[in-house]
Subunit: 262 residues, 2 copies
């Protein structure tokens, strides 16, 4: 099965893309809701958690892994690929490629959690592809709780988004990476506040495009991933709140299975 892990429920935006772009391929999802969020934790702690997440998915029969969480992708991707031999996809590289393809002014903005921005992973990925692109990164740590706590559609969030993007707005970027799984939920607000002329890149979309491309060139693997089974949603902690968000984001009923690493 295609397996996806995330620090919590944000990675469901990647599942949504898989359902859209790769119908007939069920997903094994793991959300580490007992320790969520990762974005305010240190690189060492995020790496330890990401290894446990991947190890668990492999023990459950994962044949490929998508690291949906930007904080984990940016701090642990290299470690994961060193430790495990199955195909692992991160959200950083596909989004970086897309941003480089889109930017005409060669000026790309990135917003994300403190852990993602602190790692400078997007900057490194973009400049590996094209060293002439200037990358301006900015942490927006308050967006995730606003979205998770149901404030996405309120005026205060619009105002906080506006204030948070003010600095970036003066930097003459023409492309902006939404470097956190939650941000597509407030994509319209971000688009208006950063400027309608700035092109937005959603890493969830990009990683699933890359996954689809990979499967085209690996038809045997693709065939083995097809099944009539339903998706499985595993979490390290179950709360009514997570359950409600999961259902509302995926627009379907979701049964969360509680698992433990011990």
């Amino acid at each position: 099965m295609i397996s996806v892990f995330d620090s919590g429920i944000g990675g469901l935006t990647v599942v949504k893309e898989i359902v859209k772009q790769l119908p007939g391929m069920p997903v094994l999802y793991l959300g580490d809701t007992a320790r969520t969020p990762y974005g305010n934790k240190s690189p060492e702690t995020i790496r330890q958690y990401a290894l446990q997440d991947a190890q668990f998915l492999i023990s459950q029969g994962a044949t490929m892994i998508v690291v949906a969480c930007n904080s984990a992708s940016s701090n642990a991707y290299q470690l994961l690929t060193t430790n495990y031999k199955l195909p692992i996809f991160d959200v950083i590289i596909p989004a970086a490629r897309r941003a480089v393809a889109l930017t005409k002014k060669k000026r790309v903005g990135v917003i994300g959690t403190r852990a993602t921005i602190g790692s400078r992973a997007y900057e490194k990925a973009i400049q590996t592809i094209d060293p002439n692109v200037t990358v301006i990164e900015h942490a927006c740590p308050i967006f995730v709780p606003l979205i998770e706590e149901g404030w996405a559609k309120k005026g205060e969030t619009t105002r906080i988004v506006k204030l948070s993007l003010q600095g970036l707005k003066t930097k003459n970027i023409d492309t902006l990476i939404l470097g956190c799984t939650h941000y597509p939920i407030i994509r319209d607000i971000i688009q208006v506040k950063i400027s309608k002329r700035v092109k937005l890149v959603d890493p969830a979309e990009e990683v699933v495009k890359e996954l689809a491309q990979y499967l085209k060139t690996h038809p045997k693997l693709a065939q083995s991933l097809r099944s009539t089974e339903d998706h499985r949603f595993m979490v390290t902690d179950v709360t009514e709140h997570f359950q409600a968000i999961a259902q509302s984001w995926l627009n379907r009923s979701v049964k969360l299975e509680k698992i433990s690493f011990q």
Copy 2:
């Protein structure tokens, strides 16, 4: 040593009270920053974390424990007192006592995280003391991230506090418990938005008053807690951000020691 644990850095408001009310008594602090926050986790997960926190403090020589975290106090206090024989203080009971003493209309409001409000621990504690007091509880999960992310003094926070307290404002309460360690940081905003006539109860203040009272009647224990040693701040994850908040809240330099439960 007096030991204090919390889901993260919020419990430093309790340390501040100990420094004020019990000078000369160093504190052994444990913040579970690798898994913070607890307020959005399930009761089962909070109980498991609280047991690990207490066990660790005992292994470090704790002779009494203050559960600074409202989410842990409300979901795990009984379990902790069943499992451990040393004196354990929670923040719920002292704050409930104070609220009952203050309310004239016999109508008390409580704000807190989803886990604290979901447990109904404040309601139970208040009604055990005085069954005639009506308790109106309301979760304000967005306050903690706003405070931790540095938005406490911005207009958007004032507006969010106003909107969050709107329902409670119509309930004719005359006393409000600030049922989360972070809330005293925005006490002035809460006071203005709920009404200047409503009396606010800060559980950190109340638990330390109770602790001081207990030590008066246990002079031998009190004597053993006196020392010229400095406070110790242990955390399960160290980030620059936590370090900065800790120093700004305590208004002194703070060296965070990273510890691990394994």
